[in-house]
Symmetry: C2
């Protein structure tokens, strides 16, 4: 019977909301995308199915507002000073217009896992589209750069934009692996250097928190609804909003964050906190003390007497001691039920679940049922959630049978108590009756690993491949512009990402090829893909975004379809098999030549 | 001799910048606080002393712009949905205007330490001052709250502000301890409930990252300059900017974040990255190939020939193999030196410090010295920083003596390589010659503990104390409005924070008092303070901020003076002695009574 509740997911407030056209920074909307008439999406049934289809795609106007938001949150000065000192030195040497190529990648999959998700691309594109320094920016730079900086450089800065920048990228929401270049940024050397910090800042956390959400989703299984509720513990307001957005994309269903509902159309959820419960002391505080029936009978019923009657019967049924029941808690529940009789889902552990909260809930819920309403369920916020949920479900069933109230068979149980990925996985293994799990701190701050470590490295200047040959091999880079292919096996699982020179012909399905896995012992492997996908495409050219920007819902669907191509052995949360990323023979030869060149004798000291 | 460099801290770009009056979100400044004329702060000497006095305090106009920024980053909808459902239930029961008091505190000191710092108050006050829901906010809430919500509630929401809210708080930048209420928020029940998530979001990360910076500062000692450079790894753009601001307040000297320099007057630093070095291939790319002398002799000197000559002499002196020297690296150094001859501080580990980078640096620096310039120093970004810095210093001394160049005795060494608190402490114990340390990821994302866990709990309604009596004692709260006193010993060290009832007379210096330590075994202790400080004062009343807002520089000074009152045994980074937070006898009696009341039989079921 409890399974039924699982199959009918519920927003416990509970409404799926339209995606409103509004800037993150609260500008007035003066465009064409006025919010849908709220009445058109009203739904009298608190049990709503949640599908991405319920969320509207962002309108063109929304994109404009998002762009303004990105411009405001990521001004061109939100970068490291050395980007400007380097730009000056390039400019001074006349090298600023040289065509250059940077690549963005991370060195290790986060959380000790076998994969990551790529997110933040949309924001990067909006950032690039509006990248321009103001007079005030330039005036400030004048005051911080050394006084001998040539004044003409500031004119150059004032005129900069990204009209000569080209981006090739994986799609947002793709499964990605360490050392695979996610994004290639091509353009004038000084410009693409200046973009580094901002692009990294936009991709690093978005990808990290999206990957974290996907891991929580894998740990939780697909049956349960997941609620993100981390705003108060996030690393700043924007961190909180970014978390709500990308955890939804990564697989969460609901958020507590109202602004995220407003901006991104993510379904919002929430009812009451402990403070609400503890603010009540006695039944005298309940007002109004009557409630009309759901079918509209005009005669209001004394809800307090009705509930007291039910409480006596519940106590009898359970053999509970009425003396241990908190009157203030009952008053709080009643007060909320009178306000929202169709959305009754209180937190029941303010005092004692078994001795007070559960009994009070059952009494109020039975009274609501008697008046024709459907209570929604309960929230547990402390202690052993699994054990408690089983006991709560048992009591629901008992009441349902004893009092012949079928609604009690579809009540939901929400669990929220400092859930980590480990406790989520644990919970998924143990018997329990929890339908919705709320996660805050560990999800949004990514406690297991709070940063991704994406880097942005130069791979080509003026058509010549460049690489960093560090004494620390982990910090060496792979030179040259690349094409990247994902090889899939006959089951549709990806098994190898191949980095090739841009000029090489793509690998072909059914044809065996030789390549050199990164991080291996320098020996080659031969593989025969059943399918080959070209991973990156051009997304930004001549100052314009060349592909339609995806909505959160579309990217969320992309995440799930991309994860489906991943073999379970790579998806395993603990000790996954490592995924192979390899260089083509030609790319490997290039790298070897450059390394050799680097070690060969240099005789420039003899020349004049 | 190296010590001298330590005593003359250096910004390696290097300029201390004025605090500009500009909104975080890049509005045009139309107020009175135009930026200082940059020329007035120009300083031809790259060695600048850094003192907070170099930073201008925010003008009134800046506060206005900051307020707008807070309003844009923290709109009233950036909160949990349940705040609104609870507000509705209070409103429906006619309880929304009841006077209520919430307290903010955290349960454990972060990072396993003995203290925390309190930050984020200024932003909270600006948030409160402008807290107002727009028509659009209310329209959105209509669409997410249950359809039977009384329409008059939305009129109530539309008219809400914080004119009836009163805040009593510790000063921003104070040393604080677990379980001490930092902030007391008093006002109409529905309003102060609505503020919860936003206030927590503004205090949690600010306090956490400020405390983290203070720990890094303690680990580093006071000699070294500390540079924050975490923007690219931060949890979002605003996370990065917040980190730059509060790590400076917590004890860092410099930031790489230009926008933080712009907004908060934090000195900015940075020169070049590896990409700059690897973008050069040969000396032909250096342009111009000449440099005039520092004293203005109009005849330009061939800097390449000059440097080659020095490189030969350096190689000879060091017995180095010229064949291992990277021409591209030398070209990069020369190119930067030509652009910024007074600010030469390259990263020297792109290929090999000992075989190439250090030799190239010395050659270019000696050429610069010959032309009358003062090179600044080098940056090390990989490997064993301590060992390398000693070797680098040895070579500097050797060159300085051999070639009689005194500037080589004051070159600085900057170390940046994934520094954590542990590696910082380690580095501080080992012999090394590092003058400036740059910290990124571990500082800004607080890897050791990425969230503080501040909570916001109801302690009084309608003059009646309220508390949550959880089955989990850690989650129980301490009821009632409180006054908080810090007791100091004869040495000026604080040793106990005392929570009293608001109505109690304050403890007196020299008088013995009895109190009950929290988390103890319920036994009392007797203490005699040499001094007593009242910790909180009113900072917000009738919609207005009642104390002048502190500048970043003032709060930074407050942090250091507050830390000085802390005994070293509590300041210890590992296994500190825990600081005592205690209840007065009267407050303890209140809590005991409430707990007893909670356990006493309740007979409301018998009443009608």
């Amino acid at each position: 019977m409890a399974k039924q509740a699982v199959q009918h997911p519920v927003i416990f407030t509970g409404r799926t909301v339209p995606h409103h056209s509004r800037c993150w920074t609260r500008v007035d909307v003066c465009g064409t995308a006025s919010p849908r008439d709220p009445s058109s999406i009203r739904n009298e049934d608190p049990v709503l199915s949640l599908s991405p289809g319920n969320m509207a795609a962002p309108s063109t106007d929304t994109c404009g507002l998002m762009e303004r938001s990105v411009r405001e949150r990521v001004p061109p000065l939100l970068t490291d000073l050395y980007q400007f000192t380097m730009a000056y030195a390039y400019w001074r040497a006349g090298r600023h217009q040289e065509p250059a190529v940077f690549e963005m990648f991370f060195r290790d999959n986060p959380f000790g896992g076998g994969f990551s998700l790529f997110a933040g691309l949309n924001d990067c594109l909006l950032f690039l589209r509006s990248f321009r320094l103001t007079d005030q920016d330039v005036q400030f730079l004048r005051s911080v750069l050394p006084p001998n900086t040539d004044p003409a450089f500031f004119d150059f800065l004032r005129g900069l934009d990204c009209s000569a920048v080209m981006i090739r990228s994986l799609p947002e929401g793709s499964v990605v692996f360490a050392r695979v270049p996610l994004m290639e940024v091509e353009g004038p050397l000084a410009v693409v250097q200046l973009l580094e910090t901002s692009l990294l800042c936009l991709v690093n956390y978005a990808s990290l928190v999206c990957s974290n959400a996907a891991r929580f989703r894998l740990a939780a299984g697909h049956q349960r609804r997941l609620l993100e509720m981390g705003l108060r513990r996030a690393q700043g307001p924007d961190g909180g909003l970014t978390a709500s957005r990308y955890t939804h994309i990564g697989g969460f269903d609901l958020t507590s964050n109202v602004q995220a509902g407003f901006l991104f159309g993510i379904p919002v959820a929430g009812t009451i906190a402990h403070s609400y419960v503890t603010s009540f002391n006695s039944l005298e505080e309940v007002w109004p003390q009557t409630l009309v029936t759901a079918n509209g009978d005009p005669n209001p019923v004394d809800i307090i007497s009705l509930t007291k009657g039910w409480l006596r019967r519940v106590c009898e049924l359970m053999g509970a001691e009425p003396g241990k029941i908190h009157e203030g808690e009952l008053a709080a529940f009643l007060s909320y039920a009178v306000a929202y009789p169709q959305n009754f889902l209180p937190v029941i552990d303010s005092y004692s679940v078994g001795c007070s909260g559960l009994l009070n809930f059952c009494a109020v819920a039975l009274a609501l049922c008697e008046l024709g309403y459907k209570p929604v369920g309960v929230r547990l916020d402390s202690g052993d959630l699994c054990r408690q949920s089983i006991e709560v479900r048992r009591v629901f069933r008992l009441c349902g049978e004893q009092f012949s109230v079928s609604t009690f068979n579809s009540l939901i149980i929400v669990g929220t108590n400092n859930i980590s990925e480990e406790s989520m996985a644990e919970l998924n293994k143990k018997e329990n009756e929890i339908n919705v799990i709320g996660v805050g701190t560990h999800l949004v701050t990514c406690t297991k690993q709070p940063s991704l470590g994406c880097v942005y490295k130069l791979v080509e200047v003026r058509g010549r491949p460049r690489m960093k040959i560090s004494e620390d091999p982990q910090k060496s880079t792979v030179a040259g512009r690349k094409a990247i292919y994902r090889l899939l096996d006959a089951d549709g699982h990806c098994f190898l990402d191949l980095l090739c020179l841009m000029v090489e012909p793509p690998p072909e399905a059914g044809c065996t090829l030789t390549c050199y896995p990164l991080g291996g012992d320098n020996s080659s492997v031969s593989v025969t893909p059943a399918q080959v996908t070209c991973l990156r495409k051009e997304v930004f050219l001549k100052g314009q975004v060349t592909e339609p920007l995806c909505s959160a819902a579309e990217t969320r669907a992309k995440v799930q379809s991309s994860l489906q191509t991943l073999h379970p052995r790579h998806k395993r949360l603990q000790e996954p098999d490592s995924y192979t990323v390899a260089l083509s023979v030609k790319l490997r030869n290039l790298v070897t030549e450059l390394q050799k060149g680097s070690n060969s004798d240099s005789n420039f000291l003899l020349a004049n």
